[in-house]
Symmetry: C2
């Protein structure tokens, strides 16, 4: 029990503070669980003078990366976020044969395969449980517990900010701007919310999950992505009338030797478990050919849940250091191609503003028919008598994305179509 | 990639057949995922002549344990079930320095600490993901992903047979005997269903989960246990009227240096996620001080889901064999005492048959009051005019179990009380 494992922390923000706090306050417990003392030996910060709620021993703080990483270091915990310089510091740490624990979804989504290969080459590991789903075990179940399965799909609500906003829009009828402003007030959304609301964050996470689930390389650019900014409160009303919730769903599906990965607002049947995941919760549903559907749910963000995931990886790395183990390298054993969105076949919800006069529907229906898109139902909504316009909500039968997009192009040119509102895809 | 890992299978029933099938059909995939060929070298069966759906190479079957375990064996997969001779064969295998993978909840619940210690001593491991929750990752998340947390509670629906029966009773108003008979017809319940319906199976699994969650030793005898045979269809009606579902809940809670573990029919608020886990599904909710509440849900039994868990452990053990790694031993670092059921404080649902005449309630209420048990609501149900009896459903405020039991004893002696029906505890 006298072994000591030296840990360096890069970043002391919300999560970094949580990790430093856990290392301080739980030293004895953690030491009993790994058979070694975890010694926080240096912390890289931007401003060494800043007041902090977590107590860090004198002389541990540094603003110089080269100081932070010098000397006898076993585990580097990267919690800076963003691509640079995190990527370079991780690479440097692995190159020097150190274990790396990171919560950095952007770096792992963009550079995961390279960093995993480098770790394997150096006989260490890079662990990134905290990069997806906060405190929910998800990376490790995919790497280990489901490894006997061929996984056919991953469907996930993995961005708490957008799920909070969508829940408020759905429950309280708020418009997007108001829901966003309230999310910002409550700390659920950042001052610049682009990364979340445009779906970048979810796309990074989905790329990570899909790469693991399908044992292949899926990068963030392979993920089709649409944000939630275009949703109107009445989309939620109409969807509910049709029996659906609207969620920013991240979906990756394997078909033969192809993968399709996409993040966009999605209509989910109301009785599905994922449709009921509200507020800042996250949930991931995985379908394996042996295990069937499993659902993992919990807090997807926040200092403590993310600390739980980071520290699980730190303890795991510490055990490997103590045992002098050589971690088993993760293998991307498949080379699947990315199936373009154009080939997606699903049902679609389409909201149109149209002239409110006889014969309009015939022209619209003809446009759908011409492209082989079959209409399942049409509901006329919200007639504006002054403007002589009405709103139509059309649900299609399963159709190909490219056919639906071609239909929309044609609809835009029809004189009776005033506006082409939202197109939302159905899943499940 | 030329390494070979020798696997012996003990048992070729429903799960054993699934595992043998997976090893046969997925040989190439698994070999690419562990960097070695998994070689099924012997299978212990009861009857070597029996017709089987899974193809096993000639000469691999044996009915003699000593033959099955002889020679160069790396991993022993025990899928016989029952305490003996499984326990002895596992012990023998570990003693000889072999990895053991088992789905045996009874052996792990009764002998887990001893077998884990033996594995550690021999520098190998005993893996038992399949012993709880079928294909749901749960053992490994507790051992690894949540290891930075202090866990305060585990609440679980971990017996598919009883959950199927309760779901049928609740949805279709069936009585217990009919629901059980239908479960048996459909293969959800065994010919002798005692192990499931009396809660033994769930108690074994809870002992395993509690031991891991609290890093202490909780044996099956430490788990308070009640089965579902005493539930009547109208209990489900009354519960629903009060806003509850009835589930066979397995609960383990830590308080200071004590643990309370119990398996009994439980009233769960209808809006709780666990209340909605129906049919043969399983779900485990874990509350950690860092991660908050997480929920893991999926198929809790069946050949393929259990095969998924067994094979995940086999692949993990194979990686350790290939890497010549020394697994990190699991440590029971805490010595918590078992808190007796008498000290439980919760709300109670009590169904009483009483004489239908004035003044009856006063006498009953006095008995509760005498023991300091405060009544939250009383509903009078189902008056039988011929017999001049009525049924009362009483919900208490939070009260101590021993006070409630003393109340019931007194009620039994009251002339106006015809029968003391069900006592059900509320959780959540």
């Amino acid at each position: 029990m006298s072994a000591q494992v030296n840990v360096v922390l890069l970043g002391l923000g919300v999560v970094g503070g949580g990790v430093a706090g856990a290392l301080n306050e739980r030293a004895e417990t953690y030491s009993s669980r790994v058979g070694a003392t975890l010694n926080l030996c240096r912390v890289l910060v931007r401003d060494a003078e800043k007041e902090r709620s977590v107590k860090i021993g004198p002389g541990l703080l540094t603003v110089r990366p080269e100081d932070a990483l010098s000397g006898d270091v076993d585990i580097v915990v990267e919690l800076m976020g963003g691509e640079h310089p995190a990527y370079e510091l991780i690479k440097d740490s692995l190159s020097r044969g150190r274990y790396v624990v990171t919560a950095n979804k952007e770096v792992m989504a963009k550079h995961g395969p390279e960093l995993l290969a480098l770790a394997a080459e150096k006989g260490v590991d890079i662990l990134y449980e905290a990069s997806v789903g906060g405190g929910i075990p998800i990376i490790s179940p995919l790497k280990r517990d489901l490894s006997a399965n061929e996984i056919s799909s991953v469907r996930a609500i993995i961005n708490g900010t957008t799920n909070y906003i969508l829940t408020r829009m759905s429950r309280d009828g708020l418009d997007f701007a108001t829901a966003l402003a309230q999310a910002q007030e409550l700390g659920y959304a950042e001052a610049d919310p682009t990364n979340d609301i445009d779906g970048h964050d979810a796309a990074y996470k989905l790329a990570i999950l899909a790469s693991l689930a399908f044992h292949t390389r899926v990068g963030p650019d392979d993920v089709y992505r649409e944000g939630i900014g275009g949703l109107a409160p009445r989309d939620f009303l109409y969807a509910r009338e049709l029996g659906y919730a609207i969620k920013l769903l991240a979906v990756a599906r394997r078909e033969d030797s192809t993968v399709q990965a996409r993040v966009h607002p999605t209509l989910l049947p109301e009785d599905e478990l994922l449709a009921k995941v509200d507020g800042a919760l996250n949930a991931v549903q995985i379908e394996g050919d042996l295990t069937g559907r499993i659902l993992l749910q919990g807090a997807g963000a926040g200092s403590l849940p993310t600390t739980s995931a980071v520290m699980a990886d730190v303890l795991d790395a510490a055990r490997a250091v103590v045992q002098d183990g050589r971690p088993f390298p993760w293998r991307h054993t498949a080379e699947l191609s990315i199936r373009p969105l154009a080939e997606l076949v699903t049902r679609y919800y389409i909201r149109l503003g149209v002239a409110d006069r006889p014969g309009v529907l015939a022209g619209i229906a003809r446009a759908f028919g011409d492209h082989g898109v079959s209409i399942a139902s049409v509901i006329q909504k919200e007639t504006d008598e002054a403007a002589q316009t009405a709103e139509l909500v059309i649900m299609t039968h399963p159709a190909r994305e490219d056919a639906v997009q071609a239909t929309l192009l044609e609809l835009r040119d029809l004189p009776e179509v005033v506006s082409v509102g939202n197109l939302l895809r159905v899943d499940g």
